[in-house]
């Protein structure tokens, strides 16, 4: 009896909501026909963007922290997770203090201004435009969604120089890089006044801004910091592959917030972006592990997880440009090329990119950025609106090139500054014993 009552109540609530929606809809339709009053955020869009933001937070912590933490040796798991955790936090604070203002305000093509310092002038009633005319979302929601991107991107790069860099050095690099590389590149690519945006570069959710940007920073960092002590002579296998698998899976799930959320609306197009993100990732996981099976004898869990990440990276810039068949082709290509980059290219060039930030994020990001111009063309089943593959390829390559040089240069300057002031590396004994006990006074496991 009591239960029946409850159900009735729920039912009437549902009907009430439906009626409310029906009442709102005609108003909106009339509203557009009339003298265009200020647009009001749609609750569905707003709800989706809040969820998408949460999903990106989940990608960083615990997703990225576990993914990276499992790949290092047991003596450095806390150091690596801690770097991800704290950089994500620092980046978030900096974003609110000045990041949003520098990236998404003012007239400059490269740098913004300080008019939105500490989000000055924003209120709960402020709205941000989306990609559809007349559709807005609350600006605070846009600010936090973008905050998660800035913060996770900075944390991504630390995989290149993990297991051998002082915590203090990593933090100083993070602040410099966030300010002088992430902010201007995000602005260039995504802000309506940005240089690459005006040029017509396609980057739906951050192939250049996030992955090439962080990937090249990881490589340049790895080169300047130098190899881990014992690299090449002693084994440095991942200490916990199940962590890596769990982290990669959280990244995969969270990435739907990252990519689909980048559309800023819960609409039909979001379905295509979701599908592309899903199928490209799955194909890349299959491609990487089957590639290992064929060329190296055994399909590995680490390989499947790495392939999934490579697929997610590649589809990030192109998820709103390619069609489903393009996404499958992209997944196949990126799974195999990133496997080659991590297994062969790294050995040929001899750098110690501890967690393959370059091999997965930079290489995958470049493939994804360029794929927009090819697989995104209408003749390839894409939904891109550009006419010539060649011209668009040139624009995409310009974006890739600027990001590589810019982020690489900022990273190099930052690391040399640190090297000649407080120093980059702990003593060799500290490094051999592990950063967990020496830098953080903690240990992950009983020995």
């Amino acid at each position: 009896m009591h239960q029946d009552k409850k159900r009735t109540k729920g039912g009437s609530l549902m009907r009430g909501l439906g009626a409310a929606l029906l009442m709102v809809l005609p108003v909106m339709v009339f509203g557009q026909d009339a003298a265009e009053p200020a647009p009001v955020p749609n609750k569905g869009d707003t709800a989706w963007m809040i969820v998408a933001t949460l999903l990106v937070i989940m990608m960083a912590v615990p997703g990225l922290a576990l993914f990276y933490g499992g790949m290092v040796r047991a003596k450095n798991v806390l150091s690596t997770s801690m770097q991800v955790f704290i950089i994500f936090s620092v980046g978030t604070v900096l974003w609110v203090v000045y990041g949003y203002s520098f990236a998404f305000n003012g007239p400059g093509e490269w740098f913004g201004d300080t008019s939105r310092f500490l989000l000055h002038g924003l209120t709960a009633d402020s709205n941000a435009a989306t990609f559809t005319k007349g559709v807005v979302i609350p600006e605070y929601v846009f600010v936090v969604f973008q905050a998660t991107f800035a913060a996770i991107t900075t944390a991504l790069a630390i995989g290149g120089f993990a297991e051998r860099t002082k915590f203090s050095a990593v933090l100083i690099w993070a602040v410099i890089w966030f300010t002088f590389s992430y902010l201007p590149i995000a602005r260039m690519v995504w802000y309506s006044e940005g240089f690459l945006f005006k040029l017509g570069a396609l980057d739906y959710a951050g192939g250049t801004v996030v992955h090439i940007n962080a990937g090249i920073a990881g490589l340049v960092g790895a080169l300047i910091v130098g190899k881990r002590t014992g690299f090449g002579t002693s084994a440095m296998p991942p200490h916990n592959v199940p962590y890596v698998m769990t982290g990669a899976s959280l990244l995969w799930a969270g990435w739907f917030g990252f990519n689909v959320g980048s559309g800023l609306e819960a609409n039909n197009f979001a379905g295509l972006v979701f599908l592309n993100t899903y199928v490209c990732t799955a194909m890349a996981a299959v491609a990487w592990s089957f590639g290992e099976w064929i060329f190296r004898g055994k399909p590995t869990m680490l390989g499947a997880a790495s392939g999934a990440i490579a697929g997610l990276v590649a589809i990030t810039p192109s998820c709103g440009v390619v069609g489903p068949s393009g996404a499958i082709i992209l997944g196949l290509v990126v799974g195999l090329v990133c496997l080659w980059a991590c297994a062969s290219l790294k050995k040929m060039l001899g750098y110690d990119d501890s967690l393959d930030v370059f091999g997965v994020h930079c290489v995958g990001g470049i493939i994804g950025a360029l794929s927009c111009a090819i697989l995104g063309h209408a003749s390839m089943g894409g939904v891109g609106t550009f006419e010539s593959i060649g011209t668009q390829l040139g624009i995409q390559a310009t974006g890739v090139g600027i990001t590589l040089v810019w982020s690489g240069a900022v990273t190099a300057i930052a690391f040399y500054l640190i090297k000649f002031t407080i120093g980059l590396r702990p003593s060799e004994d500290v490094e051999r014993e592990g950063l967990d006990t020496n830098e953080h006074g903690e240990r992950a496991y009983d020995n």
Partner: protein, 112 residues
């Protein structure tokens, strides 16, 4: 008295325990150890890098028993732990001078 020290494949322990218990062995001591012999480790692959794992995980089983039972227990361990491939392990047999059961202060074969 004799002490049997058997280095065996870890997954053979259950079979070993059943086999020696059947012969009347009252207690065994097991330690996780690593090492290498002719098996010389194995290769693991991580993102295309091959690592030679030199030290293979093994179990060291120690059993102290009277001289007469030693031969049949060694035989039983050999039977259950043998696969015929390198890495099956080794059995060492050594004389034991004295044994004491702490609880009862018994000594000699009664304590083993």
């Amino acid at each position: 008295m004799k002490m049997i020290t058997a280095i065996i494949r870890p997954w053979k322990l259950d079979d070993l325990q059943i086999a020696v218990a059947r012969l009347g062995v009252q207690g065994i001591t097991v330690t996780e150890v690593t090492g290498y012999g002719r098996q010389r480790g194995h290769a693991e692959h991580y993102r295309g890098s091959e690592y030679q794992v030199e030290f293979v995980p093994k179990l060291r089983v120690e059993i102290v028993l009277d001289d007469n039972s030693a031969e049949s227990v060694v035989e039983a361990i050999t039977n259950v732990c043998r696969t015929g491939k390198t890495g099956d392990g080794k059995i060492f047999l050594a004389p034991v001078g004295e044994a004491v059961r702490i609880r009862t202060r018994e000594s000699g074969a009664a304590a083993a």
